[in-house]
Amino acid sequence: MTIAVESLRAGYGSRTVLFDVDAVVRTGEILGIFGHNGAGKTTLLRVLAGSLTPRSGSVRAAAGDQPVIRLVPQEEMVFEHLSVRENLMVGLWNDRHAWRSAGRRIEAVCELLPTVGQILGRRGGALSGGERRQVALARALLPEPDVLLVDEPSLGLSPVAVDIVMGKLRELHASGTTVVIVEQNLPVALALVERFYVLRQGRITHETDVTPGQQTSLERLYELI
C-alpha cells in the first residue's frame, strides 16, 4: 500500500469539497477516480499531490516510504515564451540534483514521449493541445515520480491524441509507475484502469475492481455516477 487517505476533509475558503474520504492508492496500480463536475475529484488529486492541505484527516505513505508524487494538472501550465526544454526544467527548480542531471532526464523522458523530443526548441505558445498535454506529462515525469496523478488527460483532445496520451499512461504503468487518473471520458478510462472510486458530492460512494475479461458495463458506471 503506497498511500492511505483517512477521513479526509478538504475544501477552499468556507466551502468544504471533500467529506470523510477514505481511500488507498496501491503501489503499481492504475486507479481511476470518476464523478460529476464538482464532485471533488481534482481536490482529491491536489491533496494527494500535497498542494492542498486537508482540513482534517490524513494522507499517509506506508512507513519508511517517501514516494515522489507528481500531478499533471488539467490546465497544462505551459509557459508561452519559454521553449519546451525550459518548460520542462521549470519543474526542477527546487531540486539541485535533478537540475544538474536535467539533460539526461529530458533524454529519458523523450524516449517515452518522442513527440516532446522533436519540439524541445519550440516556444510553449506555439504548441497544439495534444503537444501541450504531452509537455505537461513530460514535466511531471522529469523528477522520476513513483506516483503520477493525472487530471482529465483527454480534455479537449482529438480522439487520436487521446489514444496517444492514454497509451503513454499505460506504458508508464507497465514500467512500474503508480498512476491515478481523473477522467470524464468513461469509455476511454474504463479501458485503462484496474480499479476505480466513484466520488459523489465529496464522498466516495463506490469502489470497484475492474477484472480483465469481465468488462464493467458502462451503463452500470453511469448509474453509479
Partner: protein, 290 residues
C-alpha cells in the same frame, strides 16, 4: 577626454544599464520606468561618498553604489507586487519624477547644478584618470556584468523569473514564489543600475539631475528594445549602435551642436517606438516556427 574613448566608456556604462534593465523589463516582464533614476541613485551615492569621505577605491565604491540603488529600488519592488503592466510602468515613472524633483530641490544634492569637484577614483595604486585607463576599466566591468547577466538568465532563478512573467498561476503551481521573484528581480536590476552609476561618476567626475532624467530612460528602453530584436548579442549591440549613432552625428558635424541634443532625443524616441513595436512581432514569429 579623447572623444572616441569617451564614447567607448559611455557605451560600457550603457551595456551595464541594458543588462540590468533586461532582468526587470525583459525577463521579469516589469516595464519599470525607474531605471534611469536608480542609475542616478548609484551615481549620487558614489559622488557623495567620494566628496565627503575622500574614499576613492573603486572596488569599494561599486558595492556602495549597488547597495544604495538596490535599497532605493525597494519602493519599486513594492509597487510591482500591487500593480501590473502599464499601471506598473506609470507608477514607477512617478518614482523617477519624484527622484529628479528631489535632486533639483535638496541642497546637499547640489540642486540643478549637481555635484562637482568629485575626486579621481583609484584602482589600487592606479588613478582612474587617463581616458584609456577609464575606458578599459569600464569595459572590463561591463564584461563582468554581461557575463553575470548571461549566467543569471540561464540559471534556475532566471527561468523562474520568466515562468512568473508568463503565468503567475502556473509558476505558483510549481512552488515558485512570485513575490520573492519580482522583489529579487527589481533589486538585482537596481543594483546593476547602481554599478553603472559608479562607473559614470568615474568617467564624468560630475553628476547632475539631467543625466538621470527621462531622456536617459528612453535611451535605455530603446537600447534594450533594439537589442532584443537581435538576441543575446543585443546586450552589446544595442548600446554600441545608439551611442555610435549619436557620436557619429556629433563627430561628422552633421547637425549643429545646439540642436544635437534634441536630434539625439528624436532618434532615441523613434528607435524606442520601433523597438517596442517589433518586440511582440518577433516573439510571434518565434512562436510560429515549427
Amino acid at each position: 577626454m579623447n572623444f572616441w574613448l569617451s564614447q567607448v566608456t559611455l557605451a560600457g556604462v550603457y551595456i551595464v544599464l541594458v543588462c540590468s534593465y533586461d532582468l526587470v523589463a525583459g525577463r521579469a516582464g516589469l516595464l519599470s520606468m525607474g531605471h534611469a533614476a536608480l542609475f542616478g541613485v548609484g551615481a549620487y551615492a558614489t559622488a557623495l561618498v567620494m566628496l565627503h569621505t575622500n574614499f576613492t577605491d573603486i572596488f569599494g565604491l561599486i558595492p556602495i553604489a549597488a547597495i544604495a540603488a538596490a535599497a532605493a529600488s525597494v519602493p519599486i519592488a513594492a509597487l510591482s507586487l500591487r500593480v501590473r503592466e502599464e499601471y506598473f510602468a506609470v507608477t514607477s515613472l512617478g518614482f523617477a519624477v519624484a527622484f529628479i524633483a528631489a535632486l533639483n530641490n535638496m541642497s546637499f544634492l547640489g540642486l540643478s547644478e549637481g555635484l562637482v569637484g568629485i575626486p579621481t577614483a583609484t584602482l589600487g595604486p592606479v588613478q582612474l584618470v587617463a581616458p584609456q585607463t577609464v575606458a578599459i576599466f569600464t569595459l572590463c566591468v561591463a564584461a563582468c556584468v554581461l557575463a553575470a547577466t548571461l549566467w543569471l538568465v540561464r540559471s534556475r532563478w532566471g527561468l523562474n523569473l520568466e515562468a512568473v512573467r508568463d503565468s503567475e498561476t502556473g509558476a505558483v503551481s510549481f512552488g515558485i514564489n512570485p513575490v520573492a521573484m519580482r522583489t529579487s528581480a527589481v533589486m538585482v536590476s537596481g543594483a546593476g543600475a547602481g554599478i553603472a552609476g559608479a562607473l559614470y561618476v568615474v568617467y564624468a567626475e560630475f553628476v547632475s539631475p539631467d543625466t538621470f532624467d527621462l531622456p536617459t530612460l528612453a535611451l535605455i528602453v530603446a537600447m534594450l528594445g533594439l537589442g532584443q530584436t537581435i538576441g543575446k548579442i543585443g546586450y552589446v549591440v544595442g548600446p554600441a549602435l545608439l551611442v555610435g549613432v549619436s557620436a557619429a552625428l556629433e563627430y561628422l558635424h552633421l547637425v549643429s551642436l545646439t540642436i544635437l541634443g534634441p536630434v539625439d532625443q528624436i532618434i532615441y524616441g523613434l528607435v524606442m517606438v520601433f523597438a517596442i513595436m517589433f518586440i511582440p512581432r518577433r516573439a510571434a514569429r518565434e512562436a510560429n516556427q515549427s
